[in-house]
């Protein structure tokens, strides 16, 4: 493919290919999911849970590949979903409080990765599958996978719109939310389910190892740009979308992997915002003011 200075023509040329259409459709939905769920990941300080779930998903995907030898309809996404959901719920049950959950997450992670090792040894022809799960393979996505991704994305958006305020409240101020009668444990379970689903699909784009670039980096960047949850959420989604779209576009015209470009773009935005956010802050808060650390916080 030849890249020309006419970007519109380039886009038209790229979107003539069905695999690029699929990649854009799935990538868009996944970026929205990851941007939204990623915001709660950052607010709940659950980055380690996101990391662990993606790796647990790797074991699940490996299991699905093994099972797929017997049952051809079993694709890696089912294994990803099953393992991340089971892993996420186990973590919540073992450590109901969102804070200080790291130990339990690590313990569940280690066990389920152990299963992954077993599955890999059971299936000898595994290397290429493993590579695509580790680093993503959005360009090979089938139309039925796109449909499944869209359905999952709509489900995640619907669920978040129902639990939005209680989940935000229990993420920010769990003790008060509990005293106010919110089901903080079940909200934790709902969060883990959303995280499991978003992670499983995001693995298709950027892979297990690069999941943070869609799941954490956009939301963490957005936090520097706004201080109202609604705006942060929107900016987080926009950064995830921008990274994915531009990543796909560049990858189409170069011989290098999509997931590299997506991670590089989202990281670059993060660095730029870290450097310049005092000039960019959206909303009325007074940026650039010295932080008063005279009093230690509680």
């Amino acid at each position: 493919m030849n890249f020309s200075p006419n970007l519109i023509a380039d886009l038209q040329q790229m979107l003539q290919y069905q695999f690029m259409q699929h990649a854009f459709e799935a990538g868009t939905m996944i970026s929205i999911m990851a941007g939204v769920v990623g915001y709660f990941v950052v607010v709940r300080r659950s980055a380690f849970a996101a990391h662990a779930l993606s790796h647990i998903g790797f074991a699940g995907a490996a299991g699905a590949v093994v099972l797929g030898v017997l049952l051809p309809w079993v694709t890696p996404i089912y294994g990803l979903l099953a393992f991340t959901i089971i892993g996420g719920i186990t973590m919540t049950v073992l450590a109901p409080r969102a804070a200080q959950r790291d130990t339990e997450i690590g313990i569940v992670l280690a066990f389920m990765l152990g299963l992954g090792v077993l599955f890999i040894s059971l299936y000898t022809g595994y290397a290429t599958e493993a590579y695509s799960i580790l680093f993503g393979e959005i360009l090979g996505i089938s139309s039925s996978s796109v449909l499944l991704t869209v359905a999952a994305g709509l489900g995640v958006i619907l669920a978040v719109s129902i639990v939005y305020r209680p989940l935000l409240f229990s993420s920010l101020d769990e003790n008060v939310a509990e005293a106010k009668g919110l089901p903080t444990f079940w909200l934790g379970v709902v969060f883990m389910l959303l995280l499991a689903i978003a992670t499983s699909f995001a693995v298709e784009v950027v892979g297990v190892l690069l999941i943070f670039s869609l799941m954490v980096t956009p939301a963490a960047t957005a936090l520097h740009l706004a201080s109202r949850p609604g705006r942060v959420l929107l900016i987080s989604v926009l950064i995830a979308l921008f990274s994915t779209w531009v990543g796909l576009f560049i990858a189409f015209y170069t011989p290098y992997p999509v997931s590299f470009f997506i991670t590089a773009i989202s990281f670059s935005i993060y660095l730029l915002v870290r450097r310049f956010h005092h000039h960019l802050k959206i909303g009325p808060s007074k940026a650039g003011e010295p932080i008063d650390h005279a009093q230690p916080g509680p």
């Binding site: 003790n175 009668g181 919110l182 936090l223 909303g283 808060s285 008063d292 009093q295 916080g297």
Partner: protein, 259 residues
């Protein structure tokens, strides 16, 4: 009207009683301090009032009924908040969640909760902090925001767990004056856990003293006397007063409350 009534109340976890045989009551509109050594079971009392924990024995009634989690008449400020330098959310939004955070579903256009949040911020003198991220606030400013978060749903009773820890003396005084203003102007009952009773003495209607497995309650000058505490704890306890009216309780040591 009695807002809290405890009869032969015992509290603890499982088999372990932390304190027992407590009888006390609190009237509407009173400013009450809960004091006592670390680990004596002051926060446990709050957990009973909030319905987060059941009594081991005896009865406790809040607004004439058994405590139940999620009572909208109670505003609560816990000791621990997960606020740190990563909390970029602005104050107004946290206060707003104090009223909208228990509502399911989405509401893009309702501004009622925002107005309520702004007026709660105004009542704690924190209007100018509304759009500042929590991460940038000092300890004293944060306490005012938490107070607004608790007040935003217009509760009849406030439970404040150690709001004075981490504050220097001047900010401690400012916060107490503010809380006292809430008690007197809105007829809200405030129960406040504190480590040191002295800064509170000018404002208090009642003190609940929790130590060594027992609970004493009454007006401060009634309860905090050598005779009363000595009789209650069956060990020699002295209450000393200096020329400014500050009290020191000698004989109950830190840590004894754990037993």
């Amino acid at each position: 009207m009695k807002v809290i009534e405890a009869e032969a109340l015992s509290a603890g976890y499982g088999e372990n009683m932390i304190w027992g045989g407590a009888n006390f009551s609190v009237d509407q509109g009173e400013f009450v301090a809960v004091i006592g050594p670390n680990g004596a079971g002051k926060t446990t009392l709050f957990r009973l009032l909030l319905g987060l924990q059941r009594p081991l024995a005896g009865s406790i009634r809040v607004f004439g009924a058994e405590p139940e989690r999620g009572n909208p008449r109670i505003g609560y400020v816990p000791q621990a908040h997960n606020i740190d330098e990563q909390s970029h959310i602005e104050s107004l939004e946290l206060v707003r969640l104090g009223i909208s955070g228990t509502r399911w579903g989405f509401s893009l256009f309702s501004q009622d909760d925002k107005r309520a949040a702004l007026s709660a911020l105004e009542s704690v003198g924190a209007t100018e902090l509304a759009h500042r991220p929590l991460a940038e606030l000092s300890g004293g400013e944060l306490q005012r925001i938490f107070l607004a978060e608790a007040l935003v749903s217009s509760p009849d009773m406030l439970l404040l767990d150690e709001p004075l820890s981490n504050l220097d003396m001047r900010r401690e005084k400012d916060l107490l004056r503010l809380v006292n203003g809430v008690v007197r102007s809105r007829n809200v009952t405030v129960v406040l856990i504190a480590h040191d009773i002295n800064p509170l003495l000018p404002y208090l209607d009642r003190v609940i003293y929790v130590a060594n497995g027992k609970v004493a309650s009454g007006r401060p000058e009634e309860v905090l006397t050598s005779d009363r505490l000595t009789a209650m704890y069956e060990t020699s306890i002295e209450v000393l007063r200096d020329s400014k009216g500050n009290v020191a309780i000698i004989g109950i040591e830190e840590g004894l409350g754990d037993k």
